[in-house]
Amino acid sequence: MIAQPKKKKWTNYAIWFILPAFLLYTAFVIVPTLSSVYLSFTSWDGLSSNIRYIGFENFREILSSPRVHNALKNTLIFAFSLVILENALALLLAILVDQVRWLRNFFRSIFYFPVLMSGIIMGFIWMIIMNYNFGVLNQLLDMIGLGSLKADWLGDPDFALIAIILSTVWKAAGYYMVIYLAGLQGIPQELHEAASIDGANRWQQFRSITFPLLAGAMTVCLMLSMIGSLKIFDQIAVMTDGGPGFATETLTYIIYKVGFGELRQGFGTALSMVLFLLTLVISLVQIKVLRKREVQM
């Protein structure tokens, strides 16, 4: 019989080391989260001391509200578009900067630069670029004789959603590029050499070596971009304020608007519970699917 290794007992020291972090985490994460669960069952306006329990009323309203349904639809459009476009562009950039020999660091810095900007600043820049009357984009179209293509990019429901998606991709792609680049640099060069000797062309090498071995990086990037996309707020608040009409309202946007602007903190918190569950479910499904195709080297 082989003796089982003794489980290491926690020393008093360990508990004292963990305690400060645990208390902080409890005070700033666990307690607010639990109180949010409670508030989602109330009609609290966010100001008064009168907090009334109303059962599932907020959730019933969520199920029947066309505004919430529209915001959910927009959230999912944003999320899936951003995940696909951000990762496709990031992977492309990573491959390019991995192979380029000339000005390699310059290109890496340039592509990463938008990540350093705050969403608010980025939103303002794009808002100015796309402004109908004073924007660079319309002025450029005028200058090159394509004035007929001028549009109110952020004021037209057909373009506003696309404009926000493209500007967000521009901002986020550099971040995921860095993760993909790390993944690319972890792939042994010998694999490519061997494939090359066997007559595999570049596309075949990418499909059979690079892509499978990037699965770990891809899991991380897809997860992060999905969570980030579901929470999109800054760009919408600055660029369109949810408009025109209700065209770019997302769940996070109306959580803020109903909670703070419309004095319905209880309803806003119930919406945030829905967003939390949505993020959790999508993330779990993503992990389950993506983990299967990860290759251990």
Binding site: G243, P244, F260
Partner: protein, 447 residues
Amino acid sequence: MAKKSLMQMATMMVALTVVLSACGGNNGNNTSAPSNNAGSPENPTEAPKKEVSFTLAYATGDPSTKKAIETTIDAFTAKNPNIKIVNYSETTSASYLDWLKTKDAVGQFPDLVEMRDTKVFVDAGKIVELPEDLKGLFTLLPEYSGKVYNAPITGTAPQGIIYSKKAYADAGVTELPKTYDEFLAIQEKLAATGISPIVVGGKDIFHMGFWTNYFFINEVYAKDVDWNSKRTAKTASFTDAGMVQAVTDYKELFSKYVDKGWLSTADNQTASILVSGKAAQLFSGPWMFGQISEADPSFEFGFYAIPDRSGKVNINALPSLAGWSLSAEGAKDPDKVEAMKSFITFFFEPEQYASYLATVNGIPTTTAEVTYETGEQMKEVLRLVSDSSVNKYLGLANWFGDNAIPPQFRNWYYKLLQELVLTNGDVTEYMKKADAEYDSNVKANQQ
């Protein structure tokens, strides 16, 4: 058309505070005009001599308002070195309510606050009644639940057409419209010259209220001032003939005569678009006069209220629940209360208040006579406010008491109207949506 030099010639005018007494009936909303002069400028409240500090906040969106209030604060603290004012103000009008809520959430609700959502903060117990000895300073003080909570900073400013005199001349417009149909005919003439007739700052949702209120006042409130309370009681509907007419007119105007980029134009860009000659008119209030003159001092513009179809002039100018308010927390400290009362008294002293009103193009609210310089456009605003033949009302979200609408409805409704114009939707169908949302909001607020 008057020459620029004439237009700009400042007229020393006595803006008698009786202007607001011409504001018709109280429409179910009580107002009081106390005669107590204990805190009047002739007998100003003495500031406490011990060191005291209080926090203050106001909406800083309008540059001229910011400048005027900062000047008053500086003058007050220079005169009362023992009183320190900690100025929290840092946000725009568009997000002022959100910002105040955030301040409250972090325990920094200002001791003295410019209040724009009185009902909300009274119901939450965040502000207290205006001290009795300050009430005598003002001609009219609107009440909420029988109590006065605000020292009105300025009177409700009516909105009207701010127009480019050059654009009107270029379009051959020689006379101002006497009816709404004549106003539409002017829009046709302007459009024919290739200029955008009207600029709208539709990106800022509050700006959408300007035109909405114009049509609502003419087609709904002018016929029934208690329409809002009837809607709450479900005895009136957004599908009523008057309301459908108002929204149909709104849709027609926005579809035909409003600048194409209106949905991505912010309120603070409208002055630039007007002075640049891209648009001929802006429907807004006197607070824009300063911004326009600052954007181009040589720009010649005029102001008028658009009449309704029958030629009557109805404007948004009744007193509303807004102004300086004392916080419940700040009111617990008698020294702070005295300091805040001193500030309010100082703020409304004729010399100080005149300078404030001249900077912001405001309408006086005090019993004491205020004399200040004003331009041609502001003269017209003051004439409208004091003219008893001009009917005064409030906008959709400014009514109070039984006529208050659910606070969350306003912005939703403005967005609905944007969508209606964008999708060329059916007015009655959209108004059915408005009825459903309104009832849902009322129900939610009763929980």
